[in-house]
Symmetry: C2
Subunit: 239 residues, 2 copies
DNA sequence: TCAATAGTGTCTCTTAGACACTATGAA
DNA sequence: TTCATAGTGTCTAAGAGACACTATTGA
């Protein structure tokens, strides 16, 4: 750090600074497809467009704390109940026409109940199916029509899904999209929704069971008109 | 974005803002081991400790542009000649005792010539071997003694090496650590240095050749006292 | 010729896909 | 008993580790 930077360090007013925000990709599975929760913008810029929930980072607040706060405020989710992971920081000069804003993007994974609870708790949110399109994503509204997405949020959503695709196979993130107890069929459906491709049943079962992450509960799903499947629980082998 | 945020958006002086910096992990291979270039801090805080090269992000400068600028200023590397990749953004409240500073960390991969050129061009830099230690890294100085590392830069270095380990196998980042022409032995040595483990020769050769990334140059290495190996060039199959 | 590494052939083991099969619970 | 899905056995193909082998160059 050179002299100029050193002095700046002790004089917060010396230089202009960009604003810093967090933006959250609230991702769940809806009707077998990946979906995100978006908010409609009423004001300029991008009025009428749809944006990721976000907020400014306070001076006395860590980045992850800011993301947790937005998660609670906008989606009503308790801290710690949701998988939250930093994605990337977006800082193009003109990404917001008003002023320089750097945004730290986060991925939050909601299971079906959390996704529904967020929608019920905040009527301004809508669920949008995500369709990957290179390094951009198209958001499809509940009526099946594409939604205009504000700022660079299409890229952020695309990065979120791409990141998830890359790691769902070898990491345990998939379980964050399921309730505590789930069947192997539901687990496979989650993987298929994220990857966008069908998977081989015996191979999938073998792989999952061999990882040692699953403990059978001894109980079975209820309310099926066919043979009910065993319910499993995720167990981190390092616990 | 709510009303408060909207107003803040038009009044840059309304709220305090954190400072924003970029920090660079300049990573190369030195004597068969991963090594980073560090700068000695003369001033408080962490005077006498060693830090990653970094700098503040200007208002009219993109994040990657800022990283490129630091790369040129501190390591004398031409833009575009070096693999540069965003790692993670660090924003703990107390990571700098003077003030709130958020830092976007970047990984820059230098081949042997670039690593040596940076050292020659900036005498303040020293090379430090990296030893991973959980989610922290120890920097070992040229004399073999551990160096005290400033701020949270040990974590940043650890993340850089961990990230590289995770992707060297399936991506083409390994080639960024080699000159334009290289032997399969050199490529294997780079992979072994990053992974910290020996690799099986026939399997490694097969894997690399099967990827279709390598084109034989028809020439061979020179100056060996034994059978000289074929020189290869990296060719992106998407070019 | 020797030393040292380049480069290859082949066996085995593990893992995943494909496909067909048996098992079981609800209606 | 039927139906739909749970859950399994087995064949095959691909890829990686292990190991030994041949090839080639400089000294």
């Amino acid at each position: 750090m050179d002299e100029r930077e050193f002095l700046q360090g002790y004089d917060p007013a010396a230089y202009d600074r960009p604003s810093l925000t967090v933006d959250l990709v609230l991702l769940g599975i809806s009707q077998g497809q990946p979906a995100v929760l978006l908010l409609r913008r009423d004001d300029h810029p991008f009025a009428g467009h749809w944006a990721l929930p976000g907020g400014f980072v306070a001076m006395d607040e860590g980045l992850e704390d800011a993301a947790q706060r937005v998660l609670e405020d906008k989606a009503g989710q308790q801290a710690g109940h949701v998988h939250l992971e930093q994605l990337y920081t977006f800082g193009a000069i003109d990404r917001d026409p008003r002023m320089r804003i750097i945004s730290v993007a986060w991925l939050a994974l909601l299971d079906e109940a959390a996704f529904a609870a967020a929608l019920a708790g905040n009527p301004a949110l809508i669920p949008a199916r995500v369709v990957l399109d290179g390094d951009n994503a198209t958001a499809i509204g509940p009526d099946g029509m594409p939604l205009p997405v504000a700022f660079d949020h299409g890229q952020i959503i695309a990065l979120a899904l791409t990141r998830l695709r890359g790691k769902i196979d070898y990491s345990d993130v998939g379980f964050a999209l399921l309730p505590e107890c789930f069947t192997l069929r539901e687990l496979q459906q989650v993987h298929q929704a994220i990857l966008g491709t069908p998977l081989n049943k015996p191979a999938f079962r073998r792989r999952m069971l061999d990882k040692g992450w699953l403990t059978p509960t001894g109980t079975r799903e209820q309310g099926t008109s066919y043979r009910p499947a065993e319910l499993y629980r995720f167990k981190n082998p390092f616990d």
